[in-house]
Symmetry: C2
Subunit: 388 residues, 2 copies
Amino acid sequence: MENYIHNIPTKIYFGKGQISHLPEVLEPFGKKVLLTYGGGSIKKIGLYDTVMTLLNENGFTVTECDGIEPNPRIQSVEKGAKLCRENDIDVVLAVGGGSVIDCSKAICVGACYDGDLWEMVKTARPGRKALPLVDVLTLSATGSEYDGGGVISNLATNEKIGAVFCFPAVSICDPTYTFSVSRYQTAAGSFDIMSHIMEGYFSRTDDSDLSDFYAEAVLKTVIKNLPVALAEPDNYSARANLMAASTIGCSKIPEYGKLYTGWPCHALEHELSGFYDITHGTGLAILTPRWMRYVLAKDPTVTARFARFARNVWGLQGEDDAVLALQGIEALEAFIATLDLPSTLTEVGIDETHFEEMAVHADLGGRLSRSYSPLMKEDAVAILKNCL
Amino acid sequence: MENYIHNIPTKIYFGKGQISHLPEVLEPFGKKVLLTYGGGSIKKIGLYDTVMTLLNENGFTVTECDGIEPNPRIQSVEKGAKLCRENDIDVVLAVGGGSVIDCSKAICVGACYDGDLWEMVKTARPGRKALPLVDVLTLSATGSEYDGGGVISNLATNEKIGAVFCFPAVSICDPTYTFSVSRYQTAAGSFDIMSHIMEGYFSRTDDSDLSDFYAEAVLKTVIKNLPVALAEPDNYSARANLMAASTIGCSKIPEYGKLYTGWPCHALEHELSGFYDITHGTGLAILTPRWMRYVLAKDPTVTARFARFARNVWGLQGEDDAVLALQGIEALEAFIATLDLPSTLTEVGIDETHFEEMAVHADLGGRLSRSYSPLMKEDAVAILKNCL
């Protein structure tokens, strides 16, 4: 078992109606709020009005920064940081999903940063000065509500960079805000949660039992609750379990004590959505089973762990690890097939044009070559081709 | 699924050699340190010398408060708080197990409290002014390293009160410090971890899946690793998994989203150790299976959950929930039997003299009458008698 440091200071208000705590949560930081959000779905569900009423009735002044994109771009970071400086903002209030929260983290740091903000993203590190961040979550997916990271895209350079900016001081997680999330976004977001867990689960460390059992707990939670949420979008229990799983999914807690795994599917997916702006969870759902089949076929040292995945996550039984390992992947594929997500890169308009370039770039920091089952450039290209 | 608030600001340095971070951890709080510890086991394992060397070499001044008891007493809180005031202490450094950390939390609050400290304990609530607390953990058991609570005893009134004082700012959790923990304390401490989980697991809420799966994860971790730690006291993986389980055990995270359960075995055990000063984990190991058998026999609504416990924690299979429910308790009893702990109250010198009084007092706040399977006074007395 490896050493680790646990340091997540975020306070979470979880459940129906927790938005009522918003004024008391913001109050200690000051009265000048930058409200960040995306394309307006928070207006459709009435959350925008709820937030504005709470802020106005309690004497906050609000500057708005809307239009934050899925796969948020550096231009939105620049716009938000500029608004913070111009309006002497005390606290950023992000209302939305992972993209809005990710972008808002970069805004919080950017507002206190002198210099080029893409440079800030590329050199991001924990502990930089930042405005405080509060968020109201509306999508169960990225886990940005309970980690310090964010992913920012630069379409000019085809770069999508994941970096550590700052933790939310408080996250308000009310599952009812996800009732109106579409079938597609629910499925893609939930696969993102599963991917965060699987990326850490497939690891060389076999003695970090609490982490492995916890990872299995999160996966079983999604596997049980996602079909319910898809069938009954306003099923509170299902939405609540998905939201709780989201919060833990990217926290790294389920991989404490484990060796570096590289998160290879995330590394490759960031290339796909960096070049083609596809939905992150969709890219992961296409890539993950192909990555699994590829490494299982190539690397006999992974068989036992894949067999454990089959037994403990999918409840499969059998004596032969090699058979079980494959059955576990098949179970995941069958589960993905029920989600109606695109199943190939071709379907989302991606061909092999940039695969070589992606394979090289995805290995920055050795994320592929030092990953669980090390991948060379040709391995990465082969996996991408298997996704066509 | 019920609403909850997650708010645990404690930073954890987990693993071998993390003590090297001690000076940088203490530094922001100031140079005047109150060092609290127990009966001297930290001297036997060399940890006292390590800590003193680190503090001396880095210019800290140290005031010592030693001799903190298992089941720490209000007199130790008074002594520590007085030392803080007399020496203008900046930060309390607790080196020890749950008793030392619990007592140190009360000292941190007591140092800032005007008035009688037993009154402070009896009226404790979150958010009171407190000195900062840093701890170095030497026993996997109470989870005090990752919660805000503490249990303080007053032998003059036979009271043992659990209350919320303050969170450690930082906990240093190095499993090697537990290599020398005796077989008896390892077993009793580990049963305390299991009890924290089981107290929340047996609940009326059946839709908080992530919490239930996580609770099962912690139990499976202890069940797997405790026998290894007992057979090989210096097995790092086993000790590390027990320490990680301890940290989560009392955090309440594995019962987020679940209804109040009352923690009835803890309520009764605090009476036993309040009157007789027995080891907390031992009292729990005697009480828990008797509580289980009693409520299962009396209350048919608990059968399904006990059957789940049998299936998911002990890996038992079968169609008949009633049969499985009993087999799950038998599996727990068989596990306890391997630990060589006292198995009856008679063995630890307790007779029925105070059972009536204990049953009344344990129900303070409705902990028994509003618990998972509600217990009246006569139920509590019957359970205690079954432990003789």
